[in-house]
Subunit: 304 residues, 2 copies
């Protein structure tokens, strides 16, 4: 189970009710942020999920509308009583930004570490698999895919038929072979088909790229920028390396995702509703993101 909350949905500059980019993910009690624009900590305070369990912050890129919330957020994490590591991940240049953040927030009661990532790098964070893709913006920028793998279904009838004691089941379930009455029992003997896990993707700020549909393929949810709604804004989208609603929907469609949330609207786009059809015509299951829009994703494989 994965809880998500879109803390801010504005690009570049905030509007009074639309703050800057951040997506919060809760998995097994741990909190992870993707981007941290100004106002992130205020939005977090509003939803009340707490600060102390924030262990990981993934940054798409280092423009201020995606990172300027870091000094305040880190201090508030510190004030929440956290003493464990917090780790920042982001593209090339992250060290320089961390230096800047530390100039504004020099005293933190927890160790802060950071790692610069290159597209294609992967991480496993307490059972959550994170993969990255280099995308196409004015500065180095990464899309992220989060994947919660799901174990193969365990077949208790088969295990009983083999006479295996229940004490050995969990090891087989975890994919380990076990010895029982002089015989080596392989996991394949008691496990069924692979099952679909949960996959969430986050892609902002970028032009559509040929790799994006494959990267987001089969995601339950794609959170994707929709900087501009009107097709007339294509020249701006090309010039500023952003997407139209219809382009984000094209990626969702090509990647056969379950649902698309649009985010990172231009401040000039005061009424995203006006252009929603530009997206739904291409990918019907599109929703307009808004600040503090929340969902919970669960395993949905029909073989459950």
């Amino acid at each position: 189970m994965l809880d998500l909350c879109l803390l801010g949905t504005g690009g570049m500059s905030p509007l009074p009710k639309r703050w800057l980019s951040s997506l919060l993910v809760r998995f097994q009690g741990r909190l992870m942020l993707l981007d941290c624009g100004e106002g992130t900590q205020i939005s977090l305070k509003m939803i009340g999920w707490g600060f102390k369990e924030i262990s990981t912050i993934l940054l798409t890129h280092l423009h201020a509308d995606h990172v300027a919330g870091l000094p305040g957020l880190l201090l508030t994490i510190g004030n929440s009583g956290r003493t464990d590591w917090v780790t920042l991940y982001g593209p090339q240049g992250l060290s320089r930004v961390v230096d800047g953040v530390r100039a504004i927030a020099p005293h933190l009661p927890f160790p802060l570490e950071w790692m610069e990532l290159t597209g294609g790098d992967g991480l496993t964070l307490d059972g959550l698999e994170v993969s990255t893709l280099a995308v196409d913006h004015a500065v180095p920028c990464l899309a992220y895919a989060l994947h919660v793998p799901r174990g193969r279904r365990f077949n208790p009838e088969r295990a009983r038929a083999l006479g295996l004691p229940v004490a050995l089941w969990s090891r087989l379930q975890a994919g380990e072979a076990v010895e029982w009455q002089g015989r080596r029992v392989q996991p394949d003997e008691v496990l069924g088909e692979a099952r679909k896990g949960i996959k969430v993707c986050y892609a902002t700020d970028t032009r559509p790229t040929p790799e994006l549909p494959g990267f987001v393929h089969g995601a339950d949810l794609l959170v994707c920028e929709g900087m501009y709604g009107s097709p007339d804004d294509l020249p701006k989208a090309l010039g500023n390396k952003h997407m139209l609603f219809s382009e984000a929907a094209g990626i969702a469609e090509a990647g056969r995702v379950g649902e698309l949330w649009l985010t990172h609207y231009s401040p000039s786009l005061t009424d995203p509703e006006e252009w929603l059809e530009e997206a739904t015509r291409v990918f019907p299951n599109t929703r307009l993101g808004y600040d503090r829009m929340t969902t919970t994703l669960t395993f949905t494989d029909s073989s459950e």
Copy 2:
């Protein structure tokens, strides 16, 4: 005439409806900020006074709750089309923070300059006189007084009696002697008593100091921190170098100011109303600041 808006009234960490410290001042079309906590640009967007005329930012000190809004604000000032200088003033250490801000917001379309001030330093900014006082916090911290001087009243009857042409009046009004029909006319001959200007003071984060009442003396408005309301929080106020409501009121009373606005509340102080009487008992004309509280100050001298 001076317009003021308290953009944020929270100390340390924001609450959902109480953001971090900032006071906006508008004088003759120019905008000046005192402090710039996270969320300042959002609050500014809400009130709609614009960004392009922000020329000056005065910082009391360099804790993140007073400066973390700078990167986003500066970028939004840039996006507003400003190309003129913006100047930051603050205590010792400002250079380091500016480096941090520039790491997060490296590209600005206007020149940014900064100057470190020591208590006692004064500035004159387009007719607005700014003075500073070193106060008592955990790090170097300045209180600010803004003063709009008012010219002495011009006496047109006297000017007419001397036979002075109207074309010469404005020079006399500005304090300049003029030659007329072979005689040197001194301003004193046509100007009345000195008149009270407008004075606003801003003091946060600090313990009360012996110099503060003199520094704020006669201000029309004192905007002062009230980190804690309950007298039981005195040990915290002493330890963290902040004030109780009653202490802020004591400064207002001793300084014979016109009105006191409390600000910079602790996040633990969820209902400042509960403790207002702690202040009004000492200084009746106390008001609880809240985000986007606004006023206009005008010349009030009765000799007008």
